[in-house]
Amino acid sequence: MGLVLKGVMQSPVTPLKEDFSPDYGTFERLVDFHVRTGATAISWPHHKAESHNLTIAERKALAEVAIKAVAQRVPVSIHVSALALEDTFDLARHAQAAGADAIIAITPYFWKYPPEAIYDYFIRLGTSFDLPLIAYNSPSYLDGVEFTGELTARLIQRLPNFIGMKEASFNSEKFFEILRAALPLRPQFAMIAGVEYLLPSVSLGGAGSYSSAGAICPNLCVELYESCVSGRWDRARAAQYKLSQLWLLFRDQYPSSLKGGCVIMGRPVGPTRPPLPTASRERIKFIERRLEELGIVQTEPHGW
């Protein structure tokens, strides 16, 4: 399991046609765009890819497109979380057969359950497949269901293929608690922040982040990561402040506004499936103004 994750990893949105069907051609171009503009890995479909609004069949078909489009230039992980765990295991089986480099899974949705249930679930997931496994911790979205340092350590001890965690608490104490339990047991274990919160996480020993705004401003993402790892903290702060402004712009009803922003950057990816709204023309105008104020339009690639 030699897969070591670091840097800014991109999780593409899912391009849709006007009739809301998957736009395979644009998806291929988007994945390729991310790889060409500095993504150190591709991970799909995170929630920003509307994973919950896609059928299992669509997820499988699009996963194949992603893996093929990346063509082994960087590692590809497939997010297999679904409401029903039967679907999760089905997606994981498919990911392995389709040639994914890893799977990523969040703690099960909706239900409240004790920490032991998290442990059992990840043991089952980790021992059922030969792929590296990335866990996904999101206490604020899952109403307090979360990994502890102790639970993470036990999983590392049992699962040689448990290689990292997307830790999306955005909280110093929680992030560091897991990190300091994991790294002594597995020094290459990748603690990956959510969005591009690299400044507070890389300084703590984090490996990198997934990305919210990579389809809008790949240069800024790379700049932030490079500044953090080379210890140029003033530059890192400037980039982080800017990326955090973008996150505030996109966070609400994510990824509607993000998809709206893609229009401005000349890389339209179509509408967002309900119940999420599609960014209106006024909203896109507003996003365009913000992207200009932040200097994004002027400094980032336009078109594919």
Binding site: E173, P200, L204, G205, S244
Partner: protein
């Protein structure tokens, strides 16, 4: 208004037979001064501010200002449930020589944001000193001082100098630094916990430390490493701080007091409703897992 918080110790409040033990308090203040503090903040929650009468809070502050005699600035914590009571504490603090003020959101009430701005503006005006908001949602029923409100307060209160954060929430921290500094470039962001690395990377220039009662050496080293932005070197210090922080989050003031006593600085028991920590030995053993703890000063030296 060029007042920088820097490294600030928040002392315990010693009691003997139920009353503030001033002779011990004087020694405790000297201990903090000898062990790296650049300013003192009191009585913070760790100093059992909410268990002191208004008269005691004022007396404690007056004693401190006299005892410190200008060696470091003394910052008064004036949080209260009622705005007028907090404002009168602020006015008193100014009168007796405090250098700055700290206040968090009102106790018990869970006011909406406009009421928070009004509350702080009134306290800050009454004090006429550099004013710091303490954002501590986990301690204050989930009430957070929103970044938008910080911007509003900057407009309303020239004394509003900065924000002390214990949320450790990256989204909040970065947002508040970004929007507040856009309005006021010298707006101070200060870590209210010893999770200093991320806070400093984000732009914190100060630390209000509650662990300084038991680990002033660690706190000073961590603070220095963070202020010089040598984060990789600071990580083992951060690990020790995390061990102590999590222990004391559970054990609270009672735990700090029992640990301080075991370190040779007996500050008595906490006031009710807090109960003394039972198993000091086990707590001390757990603290000793932090490698740097052995080197911490014993006694009043």
């Amino acid at each position: 208004m060029n007042f920088n918080l820097g490294l600030v110790h928040a002392p315990l409040t010693p009691f003997a037979e139920g009353r503030i033990d001033y002779s011990t308090y004087g020694r405790l203040l000297d201990f903090h001064l000898r062990n790296g503090t650049e300013a003192l903040a009191l009585p913070m929650h760790v100093g059992e501010s909410v268990s002191l009468t208004t008269g005691e809070r004022q007396e404690l502050l007056e004693f401190t200002v006299r005892h410190v005699g200008g060696r470091v600035p003394v910052v008064a914590h004036v949080s209260e449930a009622g705005t007028a009571i907090a404002a009168s504490l602020a006015a008193h603090a100014q009168k007796v020589g405090a250098a700055a003020l700290i206040a968090t959101v009102p106790y018990y009430w869970t006011p909406p944001q406009p009421m928070l701005v009004e509350h702080f503006a009134t306290i800050g005006r009454a004090g006429g000193l550099p004013f710091f908001v303490l954002n501590a949602p986990a301690d204050m029923g989930g009430v957070e001082f929103a970044s938008k409100s910080a911007v509003e307060l900057i407009g309303r209160l020239p004394e509003f100098a900065g924000l002390i954060d214990t949320s450790m929430d990256w989204q909040y921290m970065i947002e508040v630094v970004t929007v507040a500094r856009a309005e006021k470039p010298d707006f101070q962001f200060v870590s209210g916990t010893e999770y200093m690395i991320s806070a400093a990377a984000v732009g914190a220039t100060g630390l209000v430390s509650t662990l300084a009662s038991v680990s002033p050496l660690l706190v000073r080293n961590l603070y220095r490493a963070c202020r010089t932005e040598t984060y990789a070197a600071a990580r083992h210090l951060q690990e020790d701080a995390a061990i102590l922080f999590r222990l004391m989050r559970d054990a609270g003031v009672s735990g700090l007091k029992v640990a301080a006593a075991m370190l040779g600085r007996d500050c008595g028991e906490p006031r009710p409703p807090l109960v003394p920590w039972r198993d000091g030995k086990a707590l001390f053993a757990a603290m000793s897992v932090a490698g740097s703890f052995k080197a911490e000063p014993r006694g009043w030296a």
